[in-house]
Symmetry: C2
Subunit: 315 residues, 2 copies
């Protein structure tokens, strides 16, 4: 029954310093002054008997053992925070924040479906949503700046774990005068022969489109325009011709009269696997379970099984 020679606040400061790599910023994030944080870090290093950060380098960097200590401190702190969360869960109030990161090709189409019913049932649960690219979601999760990410898997990262949410079909969207506009469906072969509007780099959906349309391992054919949003590529199709691929939830929002230019893809509907991503140990277990429940309840029920098509990877 030994009490450690360091305190929780020291661990919090340590983790903050690793996150911000700057004494002043870390101190601000902890609501203390820079000298307070500096002395506590120094004291922690003295207690543990190891140097955790290499000083006098720009930017500040942890030592090898420091990296291990920081990682372990993050894990320990989350188990500590879980104690408080247990009590909130026990009281069934579901009060508090849930920090959610979501990719831009999903957020604006998925979240409006769930926010209102969720708010009605759990008025005390505050969702703190940030639209981020996959890479940023991973970065934020590993620093515990997010509680959960919503993005497209599979992904292989040792530190993170994921739970599938649903499987979203990918559709083709063609210009009215495009030769394919007459067909009820378009084939993968058609896609591989076509010019395709693409999203800019960073969007995982861009990579899925490329993976779908490239012939084996050869170069990408006839793909040479890029927009930063799905609405962007949609408008490019409408105004300049050609075609693009769109995920089903976004495509549902396209005006009624244009829906006929959305074509299912044959022979197998390409799917993107949308998942929740965490950085264990998970603190806000129940809040995340609620989020999952509401997403799965408010998405077309056919999306819940991957049997409706073939999952497209993107890495």
């Amino acid at each position: 029954m030994k009490i450690p020679h360091f305190s929780l606040s020291e661990l919090v400061y340590l983790v903050a310093l690793d996150t911000y790599r700057h004494f002043g910023k870390a101190a601000e994030a902890c609501h203390v002054t820079q000298p307070a944080l500096s002395t506590q870090i120094k004291k922690l290093e003295d207690i543990l008997g190891v140097r955790i950060f290499n000083r006098g380098t720009q930017p500040l960097e942890p030592t090898p053992i420091g990296k291990q200590i920081i990682e372990q401190a993050r894990k320990a702190l989350k188990e500590i925070y879980r104690i408080e969360e247990l009590i909130v869960e026990e009281k069934r109030q579901h009060r508090g924040y849930l920090n959610v990161g979501i990719i831009p090709t999903l957020g604006p189409y998925l979240l409006p479906r769930i926010l209102i019913p969720l708010k009605e049932r759990y008025p005390e649960l505050r969702l703190n949503i940030r639209e981020l690219f996959t890479e940023q979601i991973i970065w934020h999760l590993k620093r515990d700046l997010l509680d959960v990410g919503i993005l497209v898997t599979p992904l292989n990262d040792e530190e993170l774990t994921s739970e599938p949410l649903f499987y979203e079909p990918i559709l083709a969207y063609v210009h009215p005068e495009h030769p394919l506009a007459e067909q009820a469906t378009v084939s993968l072969q058609d896609l591989k022969r076509s010019e395709m509007w693409l999203l800019t780099e960073g969007h995982c959906f861009r990579n899925q489109v490329i993976n779908l349309c490239r012939e084996d391992n050869s170069f990408i054919k006839g793909v040479y325009y890029e927009s930063g949003s799905l609405e962007g590529v949609q408008k490019m199709v409408e105004n300049y011709g050609g075609l693009t691929l769109l995920p089903a939830l976004m495509a549902e929002g396209i005006a009624q009269e244009k829906q006929r230019y959305l074509k299912p893809i044959t022979p197998e509907t390409p799917l993107r696997e949308v998942s929740l991503l965490f950085h264990p140990p998970v603190v806000k277990e129940t809040k995340i379970a609620i989020l999952k429940e509401y997403i799965q309840k408010n998405v077309p029920q056919s999306f819940l099984s991957p049997d409706i098509g073939a999952i497209v990877h993107w890495q």
Copy 2:
């Protein structure tokens, strides 16, 4: 970057109070006075806003939510202790204690083989060994009073995880004038027809012998004497006749001239699966890995594979 409103010492006191269920004893284990521990527990309950222990009952008992909090506090504290252990591991000094629990039918025969080479290679590693029954090992592990247990599996306990170490053959030991003494081996059928000296209740090996010798699910035949130690049953065989079963490591220590009365069992050598048992998260990972290495190095190498016989369950 929020600092919890409670401190590590409060969690240590909480866990100690759960372990001892007595303010005075818990305080003593924490090297503080009873009023200090009392006030800290009360403060923790105030901070968390829940009652953790039902007072005024004998013995002291945690509330339902209290049980969850205590379990989570144990987990969190172990992740905290792991920080200090990381540094000891980094320095490759392997200084410190490892609290080991081992069953009585293994301890005196297995440990002498490893203690000397282990001490030579890692003089700073202090093994703190306690001989305990399986049930006691589990009890102590769950309260983190032991770092690791050495016992016979399979076992099914949700909270604990195990790693097989080796598979120890079980042999028959017969009196020189027993009818089976003439045979080179004895069959399972022979055993089922024989009177058998047994260990007292609590020894898992007793249950394995019973499981081996009982016909299907019927009652146990001809088994009606009990001793508290393997040497006890050995002496009973030698002085009063009959036979018993002995685990191989213990049997190896029997005098040379009596070794001929040790008989392999046919058709399949019965084995006991000896494993390490933990209560995750594991704090002293490397120390346990060293222990495992030295056990496996100093046991007959044929024991390392289960292919030499058939594992006998005992539950």
